[in-house]
């Protein structure tokens, strides 16, 4: 087990790719798959690999995330020595200069890295949905005698073509020879999943080198510029992995869970995915319920029709209401005769009787938290 590794999850990205879903929370805290938040996957992967010390670098606005991860108990991270640590941005607004890159965030928590007893770090961004045995990464590190290992996936589909992806050029020995964060031109099908493994001392040195030169971007300045200097190797993740970086990918990958193979791989393959549990009763199906090809979280109350959809905790679908190809988050209420199609409803949305909302599959409609339509 990876007791000698500390996990670092970087949730400081504040770009607006997830639109309304990240207006009230960070990417890590966006609900996914009915009862999870996106961060649950990387956090569970780390916990399942035996990592006992995990730091989450957060945005200032981290209330949802704090509430969700709490003390880390659900991931069995309560501990006297190690555990789960929240690392908020360190600056005071009266001194704020308006510029923070991820390197600054790491640098500001140097004391936490120094104090931790572990010898290695596993650094990950907060927006990838996957179930991976992280011990494979360390094995790859040892086999290749690498300085740094990056996890990648061979992307065969056309995904992400609207967004920058970090593509890799890997030689026959597995060493990474080129890296580029580009929108269209890819070096190869290998796409980095934004997970890096290295010695803690090396990580701290890279951060220090960046700070010394005024560099702010860990990937571009810390890794790409050092491809010659350090032995950086790739480790392939062969299973399902979805980077959530737009409403489009959010919707598409959510719907992907309706494939039982994906559902089983994601939730059972290497270990369970943990999340904050809530006290919800079972799903109640009334006599008039018609449900097919859907995922439902506990506490739902179904009297209407639900097809090809994902329902969060405590959603109510009244008699005669229809939900199709949609994602309804926690406590949504779809009243009598209402129709919801190709839509993403954030938490606590109410669709009043008879109202109909419809998006397109390629452009799902997003309804913001607590809206009443």
């Amino acid at each position: 087990m990876m007791r000698d590794v500390m996990g670092i999850i970087n949730d400081t990205d504040i770009e607006h790719k997830l639109k309304d879903l990240t207006r009230v929370r960070s990417t890590a805290a966006v609900p996914f798959g009915g009862r999870y938040r996106i961060i649950d996957f990387v956090l569970s992967n780390m916990a399942n690999a035996g990592i006992k010390n995990i730091g989450i670098l957060t945005q200032s606005y981290n209330r949802s995330l704090l509430d969700h991860v709490d003390s880390g108990k659900e991931w069995d991270l309560l501990s006297k020595r190690d555990g789960l640590f929240i690392l908020p941005p360190i600056f005071r607004y009266d001194q704020f200069t308006g510029n923070l890159g991820d390197v600054d965030h790491y640098y500001n928590h140097m004391d936490y890295f120094t104090r931790s007893r572990q010898q290695y770090v596993l650094i990950s961004s907060s927006n990838v949905v996957y179930n991976m045995d992280f011990r494979d990464i360390q094995q790859c590190y040892e086999e290749k005698q690498a300085d740094i290992v990056l996890v990648y996936k061979n992307a065969v589909t056309e995904e992400n073509n609207n967004f920058r992806v970090l593509s890799l050029l890997i030689d026959n020995n597995g060493r990474i020879r080129d890296m580029a964060a580009s929108r269209e031109k890819k070096l190869s099908p290998a796409v980095a999943l934004e997970i890096a493994f290295m010695k803690k001392s090396l990580f701290m040195q890279i951060i220090d080198d960046c700070i010394a030169r005024g560099y702010r971007d860990f990937t571009k300045d810390g890794l790409i510029k050092n491809l010659e200097k350090y032995r950086i190797f790739g480790c392939e993740h062969q299973g399902f992995a979805a980077k959530i970086d737009s409403i489009h990918t959010y919707y598409r990958h959510s719907m992907g869970l309706l494939n039982p193979e994906v559902w089983k791989e994601l939730f059972f393959r290497h270990g369970s995915i943990y999340t904050k549990v809530k006290d919800e009763p079972p799903v109640k199906y009334q006599a008039s319920a018609m449900v097919s090809n859907s995922l439902l979280a506990n506490g739902c109350h179904i009297a209407g029709t639900v097809e090809n959809s994902i329902l969060g905790r405590g959603v109510t679908v009244h008699p005669g209401a229809v939900v199709r190809d949609s994602i309804i988050m926690q406590k949504g209420q779809i009243h009598r005769g209402a129709v919801v199609e190709n839509a993403i409803l954030d938490k606590d949305v109410v669709i009043t009787p008879g109202k109909q909302i419809r998006g397109e599959k390629e452009y799902p409609l997003v309804v913001e938290k607590q809206a009443v339509i």
């Binding site: 009915g34 943990y274 079972p282 799903v283 449900v291 097919s292 859907s294 995922l295 439902l296």
Partner: protein
């Protein structure tokens, strides 16, 4: 310790013999119910919701699962710095050890525990019943009546009065007579086994009862009659909501079915009176394209490819394509293959029902519930007649033993 106005003593030592194979390795309060609960969840949640945060749980029979289930009570919000849940097994003193001999003796042996909190009132509860009740209202009633003891009562059908302790009351609800399981009842108000006592009085009576060698040391049979004889003020507290003693297989099955009406008498979805439970970690349930689910409770981790009607499914149950589950209770992590029919049955945890089996064959005039204990495995196309009970002791008779095991290996 800190003084508390009222603490609860919860009797959870019952063996529940009439539940047969379901309580072979489990105390009755730990029996699973309603898709994700255990019976004791109702009483513990009632305590928490009523603001009774100090609860002693008296255990004796097969307590391992119950002990680790209860832990320090955090799942019911009962892990408090002052008070909280304490599990109280029988123990050895410097003058020797004594098992709990009756409900009253169990409390007697824990007088020191109660005295730590120096309470005015003690609430005596049982972990065997399914109901939602605000004990704080009963306590208010007890104070208002200036009673020495108050007993919660419920109207039962006249023809069932012989199964209960029956209270005869005057107009003010004062109890004037108590009949334990009477052949001819004068009334149909039955004791629910929920009592409020003034602690100093109960303490005295418990000590007196302990001295009485002819006593069975039982609350209903001995203590209440003794108090009535002494002319104490005992009041009945009428309760008019859902209450069920799930003492038999039939009543356990029925109580599960009671939850499946569109508007059930016992509402699990009430926001202000949640029933808490230990939540397993399971992904959301998956209902396949051709599945049918109606009038049912289904839990997280379930995968439904077939048809489920009027049934209760615990977490992690798989129902294969073409299978039909009707009027049944399926406990956690049981896997049901394809084209299986299950009707009027209770299937225990982690069973495997292979393809083409028929359990509780319908249409043969069988009224009894079929029960499979935990870990039973039915081979392909097996017919299990209605009304039988199969567990690891008789599974070989039905060819339903876990993977290749003989009777001997299974039992050892």
């Amino acid at each position: 310790m800190y003084k508390q106005e009222c603490i609860a003593m919860l009797l959870a030592g019952g063996q529940g013999t009439r539940l047969g194979i379901l309580t072979r390795k489990l105390a009755k309060p730990a029996v699973p119910f309603g898709g994700k609960y255990r019976i004791i969840d109702f009483t513990l949640s009632n305590c928490s919701n009523s603001g009774i945060y100090t609860v002693g749980v008296l255990t004796q029979y097969q307590p391992l699962i119950l002990n680790s289930y209860i832990g320090i009570g955090s799942h019911w919000d009962l892990d408090k710095k002052r008070g909280g849940v304490t599990v109280l097994p029988p123990y050895v003193r410097h003058d020797g050890g004594h098992w709990y001999l009756g409900t009253a003796n169990a409390v007697y042996q824990n007088i020191e525990f109660v005295d730590q909190y120096d309470p005015e009132y003690v609430l005596i509860l049982s972990g065997d019943h399914i109901y939602k009740m605000d004990y704080s209202l009963m306590l208010d009633y007890h104070k208002e009546k200036a009673a020495d003891a108050t007993i919660a009562v419920i109207e039962v059908p006249w023809e069932e009065t012989h199964r209960f302790g029956i209270m005869n009351t005057n107009l003010d609800n004062a109890i004037v007579e108590f009949q334990e399981k009477p052949r001819e009842a004068k009334n149909n108000l039955a004791s629910m086994g929920v009592y409020v006592f003034n602690w100093q009085l109960l303490r005295k009576i418990l000590i007196e009862d302990e001295m009485d060698k002819s006593s069975d040391h039982d609350f209903g049979k001995n203590l209440i009659p003794r108090l009535l004889e002494e002319g104490k003020r005992i009041y009945a507290y009428p309760f008019r909501h859902y209450w069920k003693d799930v003492g038999t297989i039939e009543s356990l099955w029925q109580a599960n079915m009671d939850l499946l009406h569109d508007q059930p008498e016992l509402d699990l979805y009430e926001k202000d009176w949640k029933i808490y439970s230990v939540n397993p970690n399971q992904p959301v349930q998956f209902i396949a394209p051709n599945a049918q689910v109606k009038k049912s409770l289904v839990n997280e981790g379930c995968q439904i490819y077939g048809s489920v009607e009027n049934s209760v499914l615990f977490p992690g149950v798989v129902v294969g394509e073409g299978s039909v589950i009707k009027d049944s209770v399926i406990m956690s992590d049981t896997v049901i293959g394809k084209n299986v029919t299950i009707e009027r049955a209770i299937i225990g945890e982690e069973c495997t029902v292979e393809d083409d089996c028929i359990i509780g064959q319908p249409g043969e005039g069988q009224e009894e519930i079929t029960v499979l204990g935990e870990n039973v495995v039915t081979v392909k196309a097996k017919n299990i007649p209605g009304g039988v009970e199969i567990n690891i002791e008789n599974c070989h008779e039905f060819g339903c033993c876990p993977n290749g095991l003989t009777k001997q290996e299974v039992i050892s």
